[in-house]
Subunit: 218 residues, 2 copies
Amino acid sequence: MSPSGQRRISESTVRRLSVYLRFLRELTRQGRELVSSRQLARGCGTTPAQVRKDLSLFGSFGKRGRGYTVDELRRTLEGILGLGRRWRVALVGVGKIGSALLGYQDLARRGFDIAAAFDSDPAKTGQVVSGVRLYSAERLTEVVRMQHIELGIIATPPESAQAVADELAGAGVGAILNFAPVEIDVPDNVTVRTMDVALELEGLSFVLTSGDRMPSRK
Amino acid sequence: MSPSGQRRISESTVRRLSVYLRFLRELTRQGRELVSSRQLARGCGTTPAQVRKDLSLFGSFGKRGRGYTVDELRRTLEGILGLGRRWRVALVGVGKIGSALLGYQDLARRGFDIAAAFDSDPAKTGQVVSGVRLYSAERLTEVVRMQHIELGIIATPPESAQAVADELAGAGVGAILNFAPVEIDVPDNVTVRTMDVALELEGLSFVLTSGDRMPSRK
DNA sequence: GGTCGCTTGTGAAAGGCTTCACAAGGCCAA
DNA sequence: TTGGCCTTGTGAAGCCTTTCACAAGCGACC
């Protein structure tokens, strides 16, 4: 599939591939068969050249003069992104954000199953929320290992985030999505991505304050 | 404050400034007085040179041989990011994610007040959740104008996101944080940032699948 | 006061990402 | 078959961001 499996793919490219995929699924629902790089770009907030360059990093999937087959490109992107399977996810911290994630059906629709949730509050232990069993935080390593969970989501207060990350990494989780507003250290073989709502709002605050002097992406 | 108020600041720089600020606030809590670019970098997952370069875009805030005064740099960054004031935010969509945001105290702590929330479900209208009044979606424009709200958060299903964005933009909101998993079109004078949980997980899926061939950031 | 060690601020170099521009290929209609 | 139009895939150019490396400045200690 990829002409040279060793090329380094930038984070921004991967993010765009996900956006293309999201859009292609929408097109599938609409029954569209073909799509050009121009239409893809328009629907994904980028440029046609960018779309073609991104895809060309992995191969040639289009037909000159016609464009791309929606269904075929969708499957190709799913393959590239590793979405030809379902992923088992552990959720740590069942407070406001954690509960929202438990009930957020888009995750399951897109291939991510929350297989177990953990909280340090004993009152929650044993409950089943949105079909997911809540375990005591003490059992994290045990359950993650037992269930072969490969992805972790941290939705704890910031004070506990690092300790949880250490334990997830120790239990064999390879990637962590962190909702706690702190930067987290992990071993090199683990990837962390932090989502901080207030931090995004701060970015918007900057734009509003400085009169939109950020480079617009066309 | 800024030596040339016209330089274009990249989105990644702004994001890092927010991370520095978050870390500085932590240092303030700890009572630290001074911090060097090296320590800042370590705590924020970047390099000392990057820290100095980012700050140098706005002025000279450190002392050679000593580092930066935590308190002073914190206030400076708050100024740059436009956080010397509080922001009034409209939340549209009070489902799982919207409710979590209503109860998420970190937003208020960091200067963002949800001044009004909207939902299309008549059953919710009139309620007060976490101290925020819920309005019917029909009153969006009216209330946003009346309350001089400048920021919007979209937490609706994807089908409604574009229409809500149009209305927010029409009502004078200058920036939108979008949690719906779709790309959204807005006029040039409005900025949108989209946060998509599943999209972030897909990025992690790619990393796990392709054996971490993404460029590591040192 | 002088020296030593440490840190900032910054031009310059390096590296990476995006945009450009065009050859090659496909489709259709005449 | 030919011509016209459209779209992909891609080297090259351009632009932007990050990293490097070092002069200059500060503080502390002798």
